[in-house]
Symmetry: C2
Subunit: 196 residues, 2 copies
């Protein structure tokens, strides 16, 4: 973990914003350094490479999603599949709205990681998505959700959820809490029994 308040931490915050706005490949080490008012070469006193900066952002975001999902599923109330899915959706929205730049870099820039790191993230994403899929499967099994393709439904929900990172603004029309409430509702309804 990187200590808040350190220069290393400031690098990640500044880089998150630049990678979010312009993308990793279109952001130069000089851009990051300029935002910190230091020389480009001085960046290398704190990081070994530009890719290491991307990695710490992506790894930090992945860890945040995993921890919040653990907490959400750890609650005693989360034995019911519907409650479990609701808790997962709420946790996911909260992680995104707490740091939309980092989240959007996680969602969109991981292809610029080295093959090893990319595949490690891919595995963690699969495990994370499996929590959603399992909650959906269990909900169908007990008749709380309508029959559907659980893997596809999980992907449907997670892409909608991740989309928040691309459009959310802290000063926007809806607060993070309201968005979370609405998305939990939309998610649960999308899995409800047939609407006809």
């Amino acid at each position: 973990m990187i200590e808040p308040g350190t220069r290393r931490h400031a690098i990640d915050m500044v880089a998150s914003e630049l990678f979010h706005t312009n993308g990793y490949a279109a952001t130069s080490v000089r851009d990051i350094a300029k935002a910190l008012d230091i020389q480009a070469a001085s960046m290398y006193a704190h990081v070994a490479s530009k890719e290491d900066v991307l990695w710490s952002i992506v790894d930090g975001a992945a860890t945040a999603f995993e921890r919040r999902a653990d907490d959400a599923l750890g609650d005693a109330s989360a034995t019911d599949p519907v409650d479990r899915l609701a808790a997962l959706v709420e946790a996911h929205v909260e992680v995104i709205t707490a740091d939309p730049q980092r989240s959007s870099v996680f969602v969109t820039e991981w292809r610029h990681l080295s093959p090893e790191r990319r595949s490690a993230i891919s595995d963690r994403r699969d495990a994370y998505e499996a929590r959603f899929r399992t909650a959906i499967e269990d909900g169908i099994a007990v008749g709380a959700f309508g029959a559907t393709d659980p893997a596809l439904a999980a992907t449907f929900l997670l892409t909608a959820l991740n989309g928040i990172a691309t459009w959310y603004r802290p000063d926007g029309r809806l607060s993070a809490d309201r968005i979370a409430d609405h998305y939990v509702d939309l998610a649960l309804r999308s899995l409800s029994e047939d609407h006809r």
Copy 2:
């Protein structure tokens, strides 16, 4: 419109794939030229700039979405708000699965366009999203959909829909038709009356 079969068209197809896989900024003019077995300088006999290639891909995708939505709404059966939304969702999925690379470039790479082109695309996206929002509003007004925030619901659906461009593979487990059917279902259910 660019004639299929021409070199100019081949440039767009090759560039779509490279921009989709590596991103616009991480793809060089030399990468595109190499895939076409010509020299980088020869590219400029066909295009004025790298950004022009991105523009023709993004503009082509935007036009495809607009046309298919027009067709979908032009059908006589599409006076009912629920049918209208279903037709919009189906059309959107079909445009994406017909050319996922172009669609994903449209969704993720428009920030690399010039400010004028970016704002033109932003306006067209807003108009396109308004069709979804209006169908949702009308559906709520006639009691076919449950009460919800129409703008947020439209964003929820469109981000889920656009996500298809990032994961769809023609040789995947589900055919394009099956995906469209499932997504229409998920979309309509997500807007249904309260599930409790």
